[in-house]
């Protein structure tokens, strides 16, 4: 088979087309959001919220409500509980996060085990992008469009919130409201991404692209281009690999994103490990040369 056939043949299956569209949408919206999460230092918060939505999604399934609604409710609940445990006990935030999200995640696992269902609810946990239905695809498209539109429209406010919330407050904006907006978008985005990689691995898509872009550029505007593009390319590659080698699609999507990060971490011209060492060596050599002269 020629290389072109290798790329085109999977597209003759409708399920592969749906999988690739879903993956690209999820990668782009996660990639955008990850730029803020990485800069604010909300990786652990992203991990927590994305796991904590599980019981909400299961309950939404049971009640026949949209997944996004359940996810939003439990995302808000998780953030509120984390804040409450942190503020009203002697525990630090990381402990509060660790307790709340694992407990809610466990509740989700128990709910799945007692919910009679024709479809395999474990797909929520591990993702099932190769089995996405047309209805699911439409839902994902709607959610992704809303999340992307809000992120791009409010991007300057969100950057200000991430960079200097005190200044935001001092000029009459509400950092609390901006933070809540970002967390709400996080819950929505989780619903989009869990179709692809499942609840367990969503956090990877919410951190790796932004982190990769941050090592490549000093401009936030460029991060907003680099992160979604890299995420989409890596994720689509992951889906193809999963098709060719008949291996776990969610796992491969994250694995390829991680591999891209590793390359950038080592080889990024300005902020990569090798680049920094080369610059340092060059500087040392210049110093010793000027000292000798």
């Amino acid at each position: 088979m020629s290389p072109v056939d290798l790329l085109l043949e999977p597209l003759s299956y409708d399920f592969m087309v749906r999988a690739l569209i879903t993956t690209t949408l999820a990668a782009v919206v996660c990639g955008l959001l990850s730029c803020w999460l990485v800069l604010i230092g909300w990786s652990l918060m992203g991990d927590a919220v994305s796991h904590a939505v599980l019981p909400g999604v299961v309950l939404a399934y049971v009640l026949g409500a949209p997944f996004a609604l359940g996810a939003l409710a439990f995302g808000v609940l998780a953030v509120a509980l984390i804040g409450a445990v942190r503020d009203t006990s002697r525990l630090k935030e990381d402990a509060a996060i660790g307790i709340v999200f694992t407990t809610l995640f466990a509740l989700g696992l128990v709910l799945i085990s007692v919910t009679p269902s024709q479809t395999d609810l474990n797909h929520i946990i591990f993702g099932n992008v190769l089995g996405v239905s047309t209805t699911e695809l439409l839902q994902v498209t709607g959610l992704a469009a809303v999340a992307m539109a809000v992120l791009l429209a409010k991007r300057r406010d969100l950057v200000l919130f991430a960079f200097d919330p005190v200044h935001a407050h001092a000029i009459g904006l509400s950092p609390r409201r901006l933070g809540a907006l970002l967390l709400g978008l996080l819950a929505l985005t989780t619903v989009v991404a869990l179709q692809v990689v499942g609840v367990i691995l969503v956090v990877a898509m919410l951190i790796i692209p932004g982190a990769t872009a941050f090592l490549l550029t000093d401009r936030f505007g460029r991060m907003l281009v680099v992160a979604p593009v890299v995420a989409a390319a890596a994720s689509v590659t992951g889906i193809y690999l999963s098709y060719w080698f008949d291996a776990a699609s969610g796992g491969l999507v994250v694995l390829v994103q991680g591999a891209v990060f590793a390359v950038v971490y080592l080889a990024s011209p300005r902020h990569g490990l090798l680049g920094r060492q080369l610059t340092a060596r060059r500087r040392r050599r210049q110093l010793s040369r000027s000292a000798a002269a």
């Binding site: 800069l39 991430a162 200097d164 005190v166 200044h167 407050h169 001092a170 000029i171 401009r219």
Partner: protein, 246 residues
């Protein structure tokens, strides 16, 4: 004309800890006031009360004659954070940071209009950072970083400017530039409140000084504030003396 900063009977408490007690403070428009005290003296808390970040247990705060919430909505209050409070790796340019001063008056997406761009250009020019406007904020020197944040306050049109430890990590020459800049702003009617535990820049910079140690110990001319007896009280040395004597 009312005071630019008017604080009355202000008491702020964090749980059991009293951070500020019955603080009264008046700073007139166009004055530069140094706020001196050691760490934990309540300087940051006073700033937080002025920006409305903490809720006072008792007392009132007025900025430019307005209650703090209204002063914030009119963007009358500018804030220059201390170095440790800023993420210098953050991927924003100097121009981006100065433009953030204009956000309050912009539309919902904060897209800068011609008037905003002109105000940002003027502010950059005034702090002499026009050539470095495209640099990532962390690629500036200590003094330039401070000036970038002062420019944000200028672009904002702030009438009251708060600076938290502006001379920490700043070399002598930049310090002189910043002093000149702040004096110029005061001449234009802007009120400047500078917190510092570092005293040597004060005489050239400030018209008056406040010594703070949970309460206002002294408020008056800088020269008198720097007298050893006053400073000793502000920095807790009188207690040591008494203990040594006793």
């Amino acid at each position: 004309m009312s005071a630019a900063i008017a604080v009355d009977d202000l008491t702020v408490r964090y749980g059991e800890v009293v951070a500020l007690e019955e603080v009264r403070l008046r700073v007139e428009p166009g004055r530069v006031c140094g706020l001196v005290g050691m760490n934990g003296s309540g300087k940051s808390t006073l700033f937080k009360a002025l920006t409305g970040m903490v809720r006072p247990e008792r007392g009132t705060v007025r900025v430019a004659g307005l209650d703090p919430a209204r002063a914030r909505r009119r963007a009358l209050l500018g804030y220059v954070p201390q170095s440790e409070a800023v993420d210098w790796q953050f991927p924003v340019s100097v121009r981006d940071v100065v433009t953030m001063g204009r956000y309050a008056g912009m539309g919902p997406t904060r897209r800068p209009r011609a008037a905003d761009r002109a105000a940002v250009d003027d502010a950059l020019d005034r702090v002499e950072l026009t050539e470095l406007a495209g640099r990532q904020i962390g690629q500036l020197s200590g003094g330039q970083r401070k000036r970038a944040f002062v420019a944000r306050g200028i672009a904002q049109g702030a009438r009251v400017l708060l600076l938290d430890e502006p001379f920490a990590g700043v070399d002598k020459r930049s310090e002189a530039t910043i002093v000149r800049l702040l004096r110029g702003l005061a001449d234009d009617g802007c009120t400047v409140l500078v917190s510092s535990h570092d005293l040597h820049a004060l005489p050239r910079l400030a018209d008056e000084a406040v010594l703070l140690r949970r309460r206002v110990l002294f408020h008056g001319p800088v020269g008198r504030a720097l007298e050893p007896s006053h400073l000793a009280r502000a920095f807790g040395l009188d207690v040591l003396d008494r203990e040594a004597a006793g």
